[in-house]
């Protein structure tokens, strides 16, 4: 068994190597990854750790003369010290040294030798060079491509003498589109309408409709909130609630309104610094307050100010630069040019954020993390503005129609309705932590990151030294920093974002390392496409919906995820060519949303306070200051989407946790996708899912269909969009008969099942029938296909 495993593994390794066997050497693609992983630790950017005063990350360092030789002598591999060292069999001179635990493979050695032989040309790291729009390739006789994306993708597929996969069948495609764009499944009626629409624009019409759906913002927010580590609690120690939900609603609305990404960026980092900042912009600046905080007894303010400052730089670099700047808190980055000075210079830019008042919170729920404001969510604000405009109009009309009793009465009743809505909205004022700028703190470089060490130099605010600089007299502010991110020549911002968009819709990034665009990150599989998309994004005016449309309209997106092309798997097991779609388990929130949606329980209001679904008792027993009892929502809030679930950092809802939702203590660009017994138990027994199953069963029983098989088909279509096969239908029918027989012997048990959850089912339904149909619905909700985006 073992041998077979190893063999298979080797086949895969060789297969992925085969993709590039005939290519010319490219420094960025072939050489930098080797030097970075195997050499930079001691011969890289970190000046403290650098051995033998040799750095290989810069060409001038590598070729510099040293004692009549040089590490690299371009064109002369045999004479280069580097080559002698990597080929040495002497344990004292061989590189990398034994104790580093690093080894060069034969292939890597050959690549280095060949590269030096060809002149040892270096290239600037791809992610630090401003992207320029490359030409779109043309492939002869291309009758596959639908847009520019496809031409890039097809060109590379053709180079490998392969073909793209066929389009996915229409039902799978529609389902994919729904989950990807709004995070919810299509209804059977929507499936039927799509199947019936034979026009060439049928697909595009759906795309346009989904882009306008208010659920689009919820779906996009799910991901953005992972990046910015949005949560409803403070994270440290007592993990009390803090006030952040208006920020969450701001994000949802921003995506729904298609707020340009540059503006979105500026408002979050520096909304408070904008001239005449609106309430919405102040709410957006809550971004700076999302980090973990503490008021634990014995917190030393100075230590925590240092922690917070570092946390912010870490998150900033991960969200916008896909940079791993966290490393440079204690030392220069080992692999990338971020220095420790860069780290603390960024801290200095953010040193005006008022954190002093945040320590005053008590053990209340929520605790206070001043500065805070009281406001309506941007969603409520918009509705209120509309209501008030309408009211003003109606009141004018009323004044004009005083004489007409009939019209006046009608107007008055309309006004009364609106006034009651106005009042209701005004009652929804919530608190929100915001950013308030104060006299900036002095920021010193902290040697080894030690906040007690005051020997480091005072740092001036500036952006990382090797990137384009902010040209400005005077202090660089957060507003400057935000604007710098979205200037035309910024090498990272647009690339980082489009790469993550691509990942959301294709299941993988063009660079696989969504969170690391440094030299240890993955070289993009399609660098030209990535650049083309980045430039397109910027030049579109940072138009997110346009980019989403571009991606989902591509033929690339529409391919089947089932491997049908012979040989494809052998040559491209990891789908680096995107010659098929990827399939993956749905994110945690969507598993919940799907069950609520198909059962009809979902309350699909946009925005609002956080929701508390059923949760196992005692789960919060570890919490204290104060001790707390979790009270699940007893109203409609129980059935809200996953994006609104109360995000307790220390004890995230077990259902979300079981399906890999992050605690949001740090930035998460990619959630792991696990497959565990805990997840299986959750899917089997979580009351929210049981309740959804029994409510779905009640709906099914009220459908006017002729027999069991038809009822099974009704449920199946509702959950999976497609019809069951004959075999599937038979398995279900047998299961249903078996279940019915068992419950018929014990009707009391059948009734008990209906007690899970608070939703009521019609009393006239026979309990035994209902229990057995509930069992059928449970089975279908537990299928792998139900929780998979294909």
């Amino acid at each position: 068994m073992m041998n077979l495993r190893v063999t298979t593994f080797l086949i895969l390794i060789l297969a992925s190597g085969a993709l590039r066997a005939e290519d010319e050497i490219s420094f960025n693609r072939d050489i930098r990854p080797i030097l970075s992983d195997k050499c930079f630790f001691c011969h890289g950017p970190d000046k403290e750790e650098r051995k033998a005063d040799l750095r290989l990350d810069l060409r001038e360092g590598a070729v510099a003369a040293r004692d009549e030789t040089a590490a690299i002598i371009p064109g002369k591999p045999q004479e280069s010290e580097l080559v002698k060292r990597i080929l040495s069999d002497d344990e004292f001179t061989v590189m990398p040294p034994e104790e580093s635990g690093k080894h060069l493979t034969e292939n890597e050695k050959q690549l280095l030798i060949q590269w030096i032989g060809e002149g040892a040309e270096y290239q600037d790291h791809w992610a630090y060079v401003t992207p320029i729009r490359p030409d779109v390739p043309t492939v002869p006789n291309d009758n596959w491509s639908l847009n520019s994306i496809d031409r890039f993708i097809l060109a590379q597929i053709k180079e490998q003498k392969l073909t793209p996969s066929a389009d996915a069948d229409r039902i799978t495609l529609l389902r994919r589109l729904y989950f990807d764009m709004i995070g919810l499944p299509p209804t059977p009626a929507e499936v039927d309408a799509f199947l019936a629409d034979k026009s060439p624009k049928a697909y595009e019409k759906v795309v346009d409709r989904l882009l306008e759906s208010p659920h689009f913002g919820e779906r996009m927010a799910m991901y953005w909130l992972d990046l910015v580590r949005y949560a409803d609690t403070v994270g440290y120690h007592g993990d009390q609630e803090h006030s952040a939900t208006l920020y969450r609603d701001y994000v949802i609305k921003a995506f729904n309104d298609n707020k340009p990404f540059d503006q979105f960026t500026i408002e979050q980092l520096a909304g408070d610094l904008l001239p005449n900042a609106t309430t919405e912009q102040k709410i957006a600046s809550g971004y700076n307050r999302l980090l973990q905080t503490s008021h634990e007894g014995g917190v030393q303010q100075k230590e925590y100010l240092a922690k917070y400052a570092s946390d912010r730089v870490r998150n900033f670099s991960e969200v916008w630069l896909a940079g791993t700047m966290g490393c440079s808190e204690c030392h220069d980055h080992k692999y990338d040019p971020y220095t420790q000075e860069d780290f603390y210079s960024l801290q200095a830019i953010m040193a005006d954020i008022n954190d002093n008042d945040s320590f005053k919170g008590g053990n209340t729920l929520p605790t206070k993390r001043e500065p805070e404001i009281e406001a309506l969510s941007p969603i409520d604000r918009e509705r209120l503005d509309a209501v008030e405009a309408e009211l003003a109009e109606l009141e004018q009309k009323l004044a004009a129609n005083e004489g007409n009793a009939e019209v006046a009465a009608e107007l008055k009743s309309e006004i009364a309705v609106l006034k009651s809505e106005q009042k209701e909205i005004n009652n929804r004022v919530r608190r929100q932590m915001v950013t308030v700028s104060i006299e900036p703190r002095t920021i010193r470089l902290l040697p080894r990151g030690d906040w007690l060490d005051e020997s480091g130099p005072v740092m001036e605010p500036s952006v990382p030294h090797f990137l384009p600089q902010v040209e400005k007299k005077g202090r660089v502010t957060r507003l400057d920093l935000a604007k710098w991110l979205v200037r035309d020549d910024h090498p990272q911002t647009a690339r980082v974002f489009v790469n993550r968009l691509w990942y959301l819709f294709l299941g993988e990034g063009i660079s696989r390392s969504l969170d690391d665009f440094g030299s240890q990150g993955a070289w993009p599989t399609h660098p030209e496409l990535l650049d083309w998309l980045a430039v397109e994004f910027r030049e579109s005016g940072w138009d997110i919906k346009q980019m989403v449309k571009l991606i989902v309209m591509s033929r690339t997106y529409r391919q089947t995820s089932v491997v049908v092309t012979p040989g494809l798997l052998k040559y491209d097991p990891e789908n680096r060519l995107f010659a098929r779609q990827n399939r993956f388990r749905l994110p945690a929130e969507m598993i919940r949303d799907n069950a609520l949606s198909v059962s009809g329980l979902l309350v699909d209001e946009i925005g609002g306070k956080s929701a508390r679904p059923y949760q196992p008792i005692g789960y919060y027993a570890h919490l204290n200051f104060p001790k707390r009892t979790y009270l699940s929502d007893k109203d409609e809030n129980q059935y809200r989407r996953g994006v609104y679930v109360h995000w307790q950092r220390q004890f995230l809802h077990p259902m979300l946790r079981a399906f890999d939702a992050p605690t949001r203590e740090e930035c998460t660009a990619r959630r792991p996708i696990s497959n565990t017994p805990t997840a299986a138990l959750t899917l089997l027994n979580d009351p929210s899912l049981i309740e959804a199953a029994r409510v779905l069963a009640a709906h099914a029983m009220e459908e006017d269909v002729k027999n069991d098989r038809a009822r099974i088909e009704w449920i199946w279509r509702r959950v999976l969009s497609r019809r069951p096969t004959e075999m599937e239908s038979k398995v279900m029918a047998d299961y249903r008969q078996n279940s019915k027989a068992a419950y018929a012997k014990d009707p009391a048990e059948a009734k008990k099942l209906q007690s899970v959850g608070r939703a009521e089912t019609p009393e006239h339904l026979d309990p035994v029938e209902l229990a057995s149909w509930s069992a059928v619905c449970r089975a279908i909700l537990n299928l792998n296909e139900t929780i998979t985006r294909n």
């Binding site: 993990d239 798997l569 570890h622 996708i673 599937e728 099942l753």
Partner: protein, 479 residues
């Protein structure tokens, strides 16, 4: 043959016959390489990393008795007559200047002498305070480290250091590292279990981050067991669903998943079927685990428990039962050791709850021949100041990170030894200091793991439990 067994064998056969040919989604392929799903659908229940252990292990598993809140070393294992002499006098500034400090910030610092007499115990003559009479009985079995030190002075970050080696969130905990490296031995119980006891005084909060998997695959995170409600989340069938009904459900789902597999060849489906079966087996095995009725009376009495009621005593016995069944890492938390005031009163409560059961656990492991293969570690996230703190009616002590005590036993540890020392006032570890990362290196060493070689690529770095600073195995306490 049991239907699950049959289904699994079918799947396994198919997996191995056609692995190179079936549909590997890219996500699946990426995770496969990482998560060693190559071992087939049951990989998550067993197998560790290839090449591990690196050398012959002394210990197979770890039971970590975490005394959360930070027990005073000066009232337990670190006897300081000089501190006694200086009771009530100002703490010399030479000790405290420029040092981090928690609740005593800005307060006058004066010495507080040890509150209990110390005596020598066992053949080894280890010095242990009178407040720990039962631990005194196992003096010859434990190695006391009196020179521990750590980096973080507040509970939450200090626990994070103790568990992950750093105070930055998002790193794997030691239990996750160990199960990731070595796999688990039980087919139907989690490999990493967390038990938190009830009882005692106002408990420290503990974040689930402390048993998180960080950047390791999430199946390596610790599973919490509860004394109230379901012992494990969602382990009980819903109301109105019998075991038999649940089994039929799992079978139906497995059949349907298999039908789907035949159409789309998604390897995730096979794994899903296997995990669901494992989940079902857990539904049977966990109630059996939690049921102490087959334990002999003298064992129950020795621990001081009658059933799995969530006390530290019950959890110590549960830890042994888990150890017997192949769980790799068992982490017990007893909270309430944060004694800023009323130190004596609370020491009596905490020691009263924890001292006997910990000693009983050692004796029980010895009686069952499991002591040599089980590494037991006792200690808090930090220690307490030699300085007086005046919260509450009677004296207390503040958080302290420069010197504190822990003990280790079993699993190849030399019993009856003391290692390291703090200075005369019990302030700083001065002789053979042992950092948390040294403790980690030692623990991994006993499990047959070279801490430098258990690493995972994270943000470009070969991340390890012991981090980037040098860490050393504490050789002096090894048998």
């Amino acid at each position: 043959m049991h239907p699950f067994e049959e289904a699994r064998q079918q799947l396994t056969r198919r997996t191995f016959l056609s692995q190179a040919g079936v549909g590997l989604g890219a996500t699946a392929a990426a995770t496969m390489l990482d998560e060693s799903l190559w071992a087939g659908p049951d990989a998550s229940a067993l197998g560790g990393l290839p090449g591990l252990p690196h050398f012959a292990p002394k210990a197979k598993r770890v039971i970590f008795l975490c005394m959360a809140g930070g027990p005073s070393h000066l009232e337990t294992f670190d006897f300081k007559p000089k501190l006694q002499e200086m009771d009530g006098q100002p703490m010399p500034e030479s000790f405290t200047k420029g040092q981090p400090i928690a609740q005593l910030q800005g307060k006058e610092l004066k010495c507080l002498g040890p509150q209990y007499p110390f005596r020598q115990h066992g053949d080894s003559g280890q010095l242990i305070a009178d407040i720990l009479p039962h631990t005194a009985e196992i003096a010859d079995d434990i190695a006391i480290i009196r020179s521990m030190h750590t980096d973080q002075i507040n509970h939450d970050p200090a626990h994070t250091v103790m568990n992950t080696g750093t105070s930055i969130s998002g790193r794997p905990s030691m239990g996750a590292w160990v199960t990731y490296g070595l796999g688990v031995e039980s087919r139907d119980l989690p490999g990493f279990v967390v038990l938190t006891s009830v009882g005692g005084r106002n408990p420290q909060p503990i974040a689930s981050r402390q048993w998180g998997a960080g950047f390791l695959p999430s199946r390596f995170q610790g599973t919490e067991f509860y004394s109230k409600g379901d012992p494990v989340h969602y382990v009980r069938n819903p109301a109105g669903v019998s075991n038999e009904q649940q089994r039929k459900l799992v079978e139906a789902v497995a059949k349907l998943n298999d039908l789907r597999y035949q159409q789309v060849k998604n390897p995730e489906i096979e794994s899903r079927i296997a995990q669901m079966e494992l989940a079902f087996r857990m539904q049977q095995s966990i109630p059996e685990l939690m049921d102490f009725s087959n334990e002999p009376q003298h064992v129950l009495e020795s621990y001081g428990t009658e059933g799995s009621d969530g006390t530290f005593a019950a959890n110590c016995l549960l830890a042994r039962r888990l150890a017997e069944r192949g769980t790799r890492f068992i982490h017990l938390y007893h909270r309430g050791w944060d004694h800023h005031g009323d130190l004596k009163r609370y020491m009596e409560i905490c020691c009263g709850l924890c001292d006997g059961p910990a000693a009983a656990l050692i004796r029980d492991l010895k009686e069952r021949g499991m002591f040599d293969e089980t590494l037991v570690i006792w200690g808090g996230e930090f220690g307490r100041t030699p300085m007086f703190q005046g919260k509450g009616k009677d004296p207390g002590r503040d958080h302290h990170i420069k010197g504190f005590s822990m003990w280790m036993a079993g699993g190849g540890i030399k019993g009856g030894t003391s290692h390291g020392n703090t200075d005369d006032l019990g302030y700083a570890a001065v002789e053979n200091p042992v950092h948390i990362r040294d403790l980690h290196a030692t623990m991994l060493h006993q499990l047959g793991i070279d801490h430098k070689r258990l690493s995972v690529k994270f943000q470009g770095l070969d991340a390890r439990l012991t981090g980037v600073e040098e860490a050393h195995v504490v050789k002096d306490i090894l048998a």
